[in-house]
Amino acid sequence: MVERPAVNRLVTGSSPVRGVFLICMVKLPLYLELIKAGFPSPTGNDIESYLSLDEYLIKNKNSTFFVRVSGDSMVDDGIVSNDILIVDRSLEPNREDIIIACLNGEFTVKRIKYKDGFVYLIPANSKYKEIKILPEDDFTVWGVVTSLIRKIK
């Protein structure tokens, strides 16, 4: 029988970040089932053969990229330096989404906000000011952050 290491799922209740922190990234069989010919399994169609992080975290593999966080501009949202963010470029940013933006040739991770016909990039750290996007700025939304991955050990 295969030994299954313990997996803890921590979800920070107060954080608005949609993400799952895992202690280890490992493929586990949910349980092993031997189906003998002629006998239908009592569980029917509910068998999942294993927990796959890819399946859970990546919806559209063609447009999904991983990026790494540097700096503390989003610490109040629980995003710290060295975190890995899963970014989906196919999504349209809704208000308050955390996005990866290209601003004047540089990548940044911020929350997007639409106000009075302008786009703003909002940091999650009182040390930083919000950025108003002006017509002369070279600005594009590179993708929308869907998950955060952090190894604790």
Binding site: S63, V67, S70, L85, R89, F107, V109, W142
Partner: protein, 414 residues
């Protein structure tokens, strides 16, 4: 095949585009990608084309231009390009299940009826949004014409798409030089020019089936709108080649593993060479008889070469490298195999290699090896005389990070 339309989708300045996905600051700046050993230029951005640097030019010839115009140089990062390529095709397949992947950045899509302008624009938009790459789409009733349409789309830059219909055909054919036709190389073009045939239009008028070759007849039929080439969904050329055996007795020493896998390597690489293909990736897989390697009982690792090969010593080097990574397993391995992946046709290798001479001589050596092997089966072998015989490590001074394949190289965001 009434009503059928082919769309040739190809990426604009593909290698350059791949690099720019992660370097938005280089959007309108001159960018070039170099061949292996940073020898020649194999991709140029539009800005570099304007400067006058030619495709295939050696880097050392244009050093001063690089300085003067601040051209950004990149070594070829084929793992990255191949990953981006998979994503592009992944999107295209959703729009058209009948797709033939022609090269790393081109595919033919076969539609049952003329695709609408909206559909075509949606494809272009989606690839740009989801991945960040610009594509051009040429649509026509035959593959040869769709290639022509694609060229028009690029040259005239009318929203990156162009459809050839009955009305335009004549004027387009009149404007098209023979060398711009898919399937006509310099040699054939010169020959036809000598016979007074200069444009595609001339070719269609004068072609006499009694005298022309199969290739030319096919091209002419295609130009006339009669499709002579269908989308090959299942090519008779294998896209992966593998050889494996389940052993009666388990083997556990690295030496015995090497001896067995060496034979497999000869066989698969010979098959590869025989179908006039090259491969980028070599893989080794092993399965032990019990669950011993953690809760995995198998080992699978691959090495991707910087430039595709059909040369046995290149893959023997990969094999040696991978065997060193195999963990110790008490009960040994029961099933072992080698696999070749990312296979391309030798005629497409122009895009990747400009050291044609080296590859020609390697290919000739392989031809000789196969001829002799056939005469004396099982008596001839290659061996790596010394480790410098074939080096898969190439000079790549300007290699971009492994953004999509190495954790330590991820794009950094602040």
């Amino acid at each position: 095949m009434a009503g059928v339309f082919f769309a040739l989708v190809d990426c604009n300045n593909f290698f350059v585009s791949c690099e720019r996905i992660f370097r938005p600051n280089l959007k309108n700046k001159p960018v070039m990608v170099l061949s292996n050993n940073d020898g020649c230029i194999i991709a140029r951005s539009d800005e570099v084309k304007k400067i006058g640097i030619k495709m295939g030019q050696p880097l050392h010839e244009v050093r001063d231009l690089v300085e003067r115009f601040g051209i950004s140089i990149f070594s070829a990062n084929f793992r990255l390009y191949s990953d981006i390529s998979k994503r592009v095709f992944g999107i295209l397949v959703d729009y058209c299940p009948e797709i033939e992947i022609y090269s790393i950045d081109e595919a033919f899509l076969k539609f049952a009826k003329l695709p609408t302008v909206n559909l075509v624009e949606e494809i272009i938009y989606k690839i740009k949004k989801d991945i960040g790459v610009d594509v051009s789409i040429g649509i026509a009733k035959t593959k040869t014409l769709s290639k022509l349409a694609n060229k028009f789309a690029k040259e005239h830059k009318i929203g990156f798409k162009f459809t050839i219909n009955e009305l335009d055909i004549e004027s387009i054919l009149r404007q098209t030089k023979l060398g711009d036709l898919w399937g006509i190389g310099k040699g054939l073009e010169n020959q036809l020019n000598r016979d007074g045939v200069y444009t595609a239009y001339d070719l269609v008028q004068v072609n006499n089936p009694i005298f022309s070759t199969v290739v030319v007849s096919r091209i002419v039929n295609e130009l006339r709108g009669k499709s002579a080439l269908d989308v090959s969904l299942v090519s008779d050329k294998k896209k992966s080649l593998t050889m494996s055996r389940t052993l009666r007795k388990v083997t556990s020493t690295k030496e015995s593993l090497y001896i067995i896998c060496k034979e497999f390597t000869y066989k698969v690489v010979s098959r590869l060479h025989k179908q006039r293909s090259l491969a980028f990736t070599f893989g080794l897989y092993l399965r032990s008889s019990k669950y011993k390697l953690g809760f995995k009982n198998f080992f699978l690792e691959t090495i991707t070469l910087d430039s595709p090969s059909c040369f046995i010593p290149d893959f023997l080097k990969c094999l040696q490298n991978l065997i060193n990574k195999v963990p110790r397993v008490e009960d040994g391995f029961k099933k072992i195999g080698v696999v070749l992946l990312n296979i391309i046709d030798i005629s497409d290798s122009q895009k990747y290699l400009f050291e044609l001479e080296t590859n020609n001589s390697k290919s000739k050596l392989m031809d000789a090896f196969r001829e002799i092997s056939n005469k004396f089966p099982n008596k001839i072998s290659f061996d790596l005389i010394d480790n410098n015989f074939v080096s898969t490590l190439q000079t790549k001074k300007h290699l971009s990070p492994g953004y999509t394949y190495r954790w330590s190289d991820l794009l950094t965001v602040k």
